[in-house]
């Protein structure tokens, strides 16, 4: 097993790599598209703003490489936080920017008009499971995960939404489309439940 963690210049790569290793995976960080060919699993981590992230991925030739490995060869793919958002068709952070376009959907901000709701959404919040997914095996409905974000995915087809989280309204906190998974929270920072999710992803083929 070899988990490729994509480096696009902005991420908390060290934490993600360590979390996968801690759960028994071999993991390597790469910004070289050809190195994705060696991976049994691919992770797109996320800290950063949408436009810079897309620019870096495109500059490195990663967008095409991700599409090839994930869509054509069906390599299991996990996007974390911004990594989840980048899989959508486009994002509205800073300026409207095209995403990797693996799943139908868009990325929108929490409105700043919500009563009693502060933005960014920072901290531990519940993840409510809607559709069954291998990603949440052994994780009880309503478990708290760690979030730190101002934008979230929207308009993802209902059958692909596997979890939502309440912050002013229920937003999409996890989706699955075949071998493609996205989570808005940070499993690498969500202690036991986060590690269980990482194990579930690693053991998915």
């Amino acid at each position: 097993m070899a988990v490729a963690i994509i480096d696009y210049g902005l991420c908390n790569l060290g934490s993600v790599k360590r979390a996968f290793e801690e759960n028994g995976a071999e993991a390597y960080i790469t910004k070289n598209p050809s190195e994705l060919a060696d991976a049994t699993h691919i992770v797109l981590p996320g800290v950063g703003a949408f436009p810079d992230a897309m620019a870096n991925l495109e500059k490195d030739g990663m967008v095409e490489a991700i599409r090839e490995n994930v869509v054509e060869y069906k390599i299991p793919f996990l996007g974390i936080c911004l990594g989840m958002q980048l899989m959508c068709q486009f994002g509205l952070e800073v300026v409207m920017t095209e995403g990797i376009n693996l799943v139908p959907g868009e990325v929108i901000p929490f409105p700043d008009t919500l009563k009693n709701i502060r933005v960014p959404h920072i901290g531990w919040n519940e993840v409510h499971l809607l559709n069954n997914s291998v990603l949440f095996y052994k994780i009880p409905n309503g478990t708290d995960f760690y979030f730190v974000h101002s934008y979230h995915c929207s308009k993802i087809p209902q059958e692909n939404v596997i979890a939502t989280t309440p912050h002013g309204y229920d937003f999409i906190s996890a989706f699955q489309q075949d071998n493609i998974f996205g989570v808005q929270f940070h499993p690498e920072k969500s202690s036991k439940a986060g590690f269980q999710l990482i194990k579930n992803f690693i053991h998915y083929f």
């Binding site: 060290g14 800290v47 703003a49 502060r118 920072i122 901290g123 760690y146």
Partner: protein
């Protein structure tokens, strides 16, 4: 629903954890890495780690130390001390920080907040606001670990950094810090109602009731404490049980 966070604050210099009273009389209270490991094992909600000598010594943040910490720590980390540039922020995030706190540099170069928010996302740009109180009760911001007085009120500065793109504020009352006499509830409440970003209350927590008051009266989104966890038998977990029993949503 989003849970209230209980955040142990770790202040460090020269690899030791220190704690003072009103940013003075520093004493060494432990070693950095072992303490981080303990908090990791206890699955705390988040850790704030501040290198209090970086700005004073006019040096960069110690990226290697943060890297070592992040290797041992799978709870969210907010890291501050000596952060002066986009390059510093980038390196800390890569080392494993989830959020980066800026304090002194925000006054010298406010555009750093905006540039950081545009490049790394607003959610990871924390502005740490330290403030002190004059004898007549007026409040004013301080930088350089409390050494430099600034001619601006913490509520005014909070509004400005919110406009500039800060994603969160750590609000520390220097005059109460380390005293364990309770938070400055009035100022926390004033800042929390002036901005719509989350506020971490800091400075003065002595017992669980202080945390409760910062949440219910101050409307803080998170409560940070150092002395009460270093010097008493009180723990973050017991704090959360106490708060939950009083109707506050916490993660246990």
């Amino acid at each position: 629903m989003l849970k209230i966070r209980i955040i142990p604050t770790i202040l460090w210099k020269d690899f030791g954890i220190v704690k003072g009273i009103s940013f003075d009389s520093w004493r060494r209270v432990g070693s950095l890495l072992p303490a981080v490991k303990v908090y990791n094992t206890r699955q705390v909600d988040e850790l704030v780690i501040m290198d209090i000598s970086a700005t004073e010594q006019n040096r960069e943040p110690d990226f290697d130390v943060i890297d070592d910490i992040a290797d041992e720590c799978f709870v969210p980390l907010t890291v501050g001390g000596g952060v002066q540039s986009l390059e510093h922020i980038k390196k800390l995030l890569r080392a494993g920080a989830d959020k980066v706190a800026i304090n002194s540099a925000a006054y010298d170069n406010p555009s750093l907040i905006t540039q950081g928010a545009e490049k790394f996302g607003r959610q990871c740009m924390v502005v740490s606001i330290d403030y002190a109180r004059k004898e007549n009760g007026d409040l004013y911001c301080v930088s350089q670990s409390g050494k430099k007085a600034l001619d601006i009120h913490p509520v005014e500065w909070a509004k400005i950094v919110d406009e500039l793109g800060a994603g969160e504020i750590i609000l520390t009352s220097v005059h109460l810090d380390g005293t364990m006499k309770g938070y400055d509830l009035d100022c926390i409440q004033a800042v929390a109602s002036a901005v719509n970003i989350p506020i971490i209350a800091s400075g003065g927590a002595g017992d669980y009731e202080d945390l409760y008051l910062a949440i219910t009266q101050g409307h803080a989104s998170a409560v940070a404490a150092a002395s009460m966890f270093h010097f008493t038998q009180q723990t973050p977990l017991e704090a959360k049980i106490y708060l939950r029993n009083k109707g506050i949503k916490t993660r246990i």
